[in-house]
């Protein structure tokens, strides 16, 4: 279904970013992208820029978002098509299955975007994908229990309303679209959308696709304001241990294997098939010590935020067997080794004894005591092997160890 760019912006993009009814109709084609780009000047509309800016300001104070371009338009079209797969009238479309496969191929093609290279570029992706994950849907429901009819994001059909009485329990339910069940095509497209926005994966690590790594959003971890926003977004989550565990669990496998790094270069090695690589190497994630220190520091800061909230000791009472959670809980224990690169939660403050002696104790003494108690609590809780694992895998990549 062809439609113009102004219409698409009014009916989908602006409500997606600023709230309001997001109209879902037939799927968009690759050809529609070319048609829309003929009116590319519409992408510079002030209300669109304003809404993107406000969305960005939910994370950082003064984002400098790049202007909307064709890549961003492709992302919006891909997100739109993702919603089409969950349209309740799909079965009414007179078409073969292969055509739906072509629609899926087009959608995934639209969502396949180059990785953002700057922090603001990553934020611009998150502005759209983050709003996409917040979408709501109002369902009209008739009946209760086992026999109920649900009009998904639509009005109830008139024929139903004509026969339904007050005893049938007609009600409307507001649900979050992302938390509902999806069609398989939509599920795959969601994963592609998340891959296109690494910052969204960092902020919603429990929803991130398999194989994701926080190092994909390396540029975000180099920006101090952005890291602070990430930490506070993690800390808002009720199950913050699972969130931290998901990030730590995704980080550790993505660290490059030192044995592989020392492998001989296939170009100079013997051309025998047995020794040549079976496939080209995948995307190489940045393993800059500064990025790794940013990720580790953010995770440790999450612990510290919870210590400030007095929530940490209760939350960490039950340790799961998930290796990611264990690594996350072990991270504060390796802080003395990486302190030179990450800094310390209480760094910059005078020592407690000095502060008390000089009378300039501004309330950090109880915080320092709670942080020390929390570290002792973790020491009892976390197996020593987890700390040793971090010392062998993560710490040498952040600081120079002897």
């Amino acid at each position: 279904m062809a439609r113009s760019l102004p219409e698409f912006l009014d009916e989908f993009v602006l409500p997606l970013l600023g709230g309001g009814p997001v109209m879902i109709d037939g799927p968009l084609r690759e050809k529609d992208l070319e048609l829309m780009l003929e009116h590319a000047q519409e992408l510079a509309r002030p209300e669109l820029r304003f809404l993107r800016l406000r969305r960005g300001q939910e994370l950082v104070a003064d984002p400098e978002l790049p202007d909307p371009d064709s890549d961003e338009l492709r992302l919006w079209m891909g997100l739109y098509n993702t919603l089409v797969f969950d349209h309740p009238d799909r079965h009414r479309v007179w078409s073969r299955t292969i055509v739906w496969r072509r629609v899926e191929g087009t959608t995934r093609s639209l969502l396949t975007l180059p990785a953002p290279t700057t922090c603001d570029g990553a934020l611009a992706r998150h502005v759209s994908v983050g709003a996409f994950f917040e979408l709501l849907r109002q369902d009209m429901v008739v009946g209760s229990g086992g026999s109920e009819l649900r009009a998904v994001g639509q009005e109830l059909p008139r024929r139903i309303l004509r026969v339904a009485g007050p005893g049938d329990g007609i009600r409307s339910e507001m649900v979050r679209w992302h938390e509902q069940g999806h069609a398989p095509e939509a599920q795959r497209a969601i994963e592609d959308a998340l891959r296109a926005s690494p910052l969204t994966c960092v902020l919603l690590p429990l929803a991130a696709p398999p194989g994701w790594s926080p190092l994909a959003a390396a540029e975000a971890f180099c920006d101090r304001a952005m890291v602070r926003a990430i930490c506070h977004r993690w800390a808002r989550h009720r199950d913050w241990v699972a969130v931290g565990g998901a990030v730590a669990g995704a980080l550790l496998p993505s660290l490059p294997n030192p044995g592989r790094a020392n492998a001989p270069n296939p170009a100079v090695a013997s051309p025998r098939a047995a020794e040549s690589p079976l496939a080209l190497p995948g995307a190489v994630l940045p393993t800059d010590p500064q990025v790794l220190a940013g990720v580790a520091g953010a995770l440790i800061h999450l612990h510290f935020l919870k210590v400030l909230e007095l929530d940490a000791r209760l939350g960490v009472a039950a340790v799961s067997r998930d290796p990611g959670v264990t690594a996350f809980l072990a991270l504060p224990l390796v802080l003395p080794f990486i302190e030179s690169a990450t800094g310390s939660p209480l760094g910059g403050l005078p020592e407690v004894a000095d502060a008390q002696r000089t009378g300039r104790d501004h309330g950090q003494a109880p915080i320092a005591r709670r942080w020390t108690e929390y570290l002792d609590h973790l020491q009892e809780l976390v197996p020593k092997s987890a700390v040793d694992n971090l010392l062998a895998s993560l710490v040498p990549r952040i600081v120079q160890t002897s």
Binding site: G18, G19, G20, D25, P27, V93, R102
Partner: protein
């Protein structure tokens, strides 16, 4: 080298060659029964005594059998068999048996194996099956087999009842010096010979002891003896009972058994109620070496029914009160000058001095201010603090704790002292006659929270009810004016999430997707 007869059980082993062995919760091979062999009966008694000290013999007695057995290779032994509960219980039996020269084996029927040791923490199993013949019991150790044949059986209950008591030393200063150690602190029993009964009863009655008793017919005696029960006996009573020939002092060791003072039963009878069947009471008399079985449970009769009264004095009942008029006795309650100083509890401030009070309230401590009440009267303003009634209420607690009220602090007006709870009299006066404080309130007809004020000797007293007392701080401060807050409305509403509306899809919604999937384009994008 001798062929080993037993092999250690491995951890987690569940199948055994010997029948009846089974693993318990810890994986230890335990048989259905345990067998303990003792060289002599003295060591058996020592074992039972140690077991009763540590645990209850009632667990062991229902399944316990005692046999005097002869060993085929020569010698005799006492065999104790009991059901095996679990590894922990058998471990305890093994520890106690080891301390009393017994050997513990586990198994069932007629074959028993050595119990677990350091070399085999999960126990032992047979290397090859053994078949006992006849009535003999095979006891298998690591390198030898002993076979026992029972000669006779002993009833454990009867054995325990027949045991000779053992002497224990008494304190040199008499039993009264430490009745708790003798077991006589709460209750003492005394068996009095028939000829001494009436004299002993009279003596206890004179000593005002709390006693009860009844007559029991002991086997072989012509006349009934008296069994006394004395609750919480005093030292004097114990000394008399213990030092009198013909009176045996007994200490109760359980609900139905008592042992003579100066003796001890080898078994802890309090943990072996199964040894004393039925409802009878057992008296273990060490001096004569007998056990008295009293028929039926003891039915003591209170001591005052056992002694005979010899008093002759009679009390006269008061017939009728004289119809006397007490009016000549009644006097009038009046206020008179007094010299004794009183702590001021209130003050009467005339109206022309109220302006001064307004300036002074800034100096009054907050607790005293909170506890102060004022009553506006014609004569002036009465400030009351910290009266005994006020101290009971929550507001007065602060002043009572501070020990000082506004009435004591304010240096104005006529001071009032408290002669009774809530009854205030002008300073330098008191109520006459000096009746009890509670009676004063009753005479004045005051309610529970009312105050009475005697401001002048010649004036009538004033009743002040709870509702008329106004808190001083509330009376002082006028109503405060609060400024309404102004909320700032944000210029822009918060961003809301979008809401999905699914439009109706037509039948031909997928027009425009006719071709196959596109290949990768030049810039590397595509499927």
């Amino acid at each position: 080298m001798a062929h080993p007869l037993l092999e250690p059980v491995a951890a987690g082993q569940t199948r055994f060659r010997m029948q009846g062995l089974s693993p318990d919760a810890r994986g230890i091979a335990v048989g259905r029964e345990v067998l303990v062999t003792f060289p002599t009966i003295d060591w058996l008694i020592a074992f039972l005594g140690a077991y009763s000290d540590e645990s209850s013999l009632d667990d062991l007695l229902p399944t316990m059998t005692l046999e005097h057995a002869r060993r085929h290779e020569g010698g005799h032994a006492i065999l104790l068999r009991a059901a095996a509960a679990d590894g922990y219980a058998v471990d305890r039996l093994g520890r106690l048996a080891g301390a009393t020269r017994g050997l513990l084996f586990t198994g069932g029927g007629s074959v028993f194996l050595r119990w677990r040791g350091r070399e085999a923490p999960f126990g032992y199993d047979l290397v090859s099956l053994l078949s006992p013949s006849g009535e003999e019991v095979l006891v298998v150790d690591l390198d030898h087999v002993a076979s026992y044949t029972a000669i006779d059986r002993m009833d454990p209950v009867e054995l325990i009842q027949r045991l000779q008591l053992r002497r224990v030393p008494l304190p040199l200063s008499g039993v009264s010096s430490d009745p708790e150690r003798m077991g006589l602190k709460d209750l003492a029993l005394a068996l009095v010979a028939p000829g001494l009964a009436s004299r002993m009863l009279a003596h206890l009655w004179r000593l005002e002891a709390s006693f009860a008793g009844y007559y029991v017919q002991l086997e072989g005696d012509a006349r009934a003896s008296l069994l006394l029960r004395i609750r919480q006996p005093r030292g004097r009573v114990l000394d008399v009972l213990h030092g009198t020939p013909g009176v045996e002092l007994l200490a109760p060791v359980s609900a139905r058994a008592a042992v003579q003072v100066g003796y001890r039963h080898p078994i802890q009878l309090s943990s072996a109620s199964a040894c004393l069947p039925g409802e009878e009471m057992f008296l273990f008399r060490g001096h004569v070496g007998r056990v008295e079985r009293l028929p039926g449970p003891p039915r003591f009769i209170d001591g005052r029914h056992l002694v005979e009264a010899t008093g002759t004095a009679k009390l006269r009942e008061l017939g009728q009160l004289r119809e006397a008029d007490l009016a000549p006795l009644q006097v009038e309650l009046q206020v008179r000058p007094a010299q004794n100083p009183r702590e001021p509890r209130g003050t009467l401030i005339s109206w022309d001095q109220v302006g001064l009070l307004r300036h002074l309230v800034y100096l009054i401590p907050p607790s005293a201010l909170a506890a102060s009440r004022v009553v506006p009267l014609e004569e002036g303003l009465v400030v009351i603090t910290g009266s005994s009634i006020g101290a009971r209420s929550r507001a007065g607690m602060g002043a009572a704790a501070a020990g000082m009220g506004a009435g004591a602090i304010v240096p104005l007006g006529l001071r009032l002292g408290e002669v009774a709870p809530g009854v205030l009299v002008a300073d330098g006066h008191e109520l006459w006659p000096r009746v009890r404080p509670s009676l004063t309130r009753q005479l004045l007809g005051l309610g529970p929270e009312d105050h009475a004020l005697f401001l002048r000797p010649d004036a009538e007293p004033i009743r002040v009810t709870e509702q008329q007392l106004i808190p001083l701080d509330a009376a002082l401060i006028g109503r405060l004016q609060l400024h309404e807050t102004t909320t700032v409305v944000p210029d822009l509403p918060a961003l809301e999430p979008g809401e999905i509306h699914n439009r109706k899809l037509g039948r031909f919604a997928l027009w425009g997707f006719p071709r196959g999937p596109k290949g990768p384009t030049e810039d590397g994008r595509g499927q």
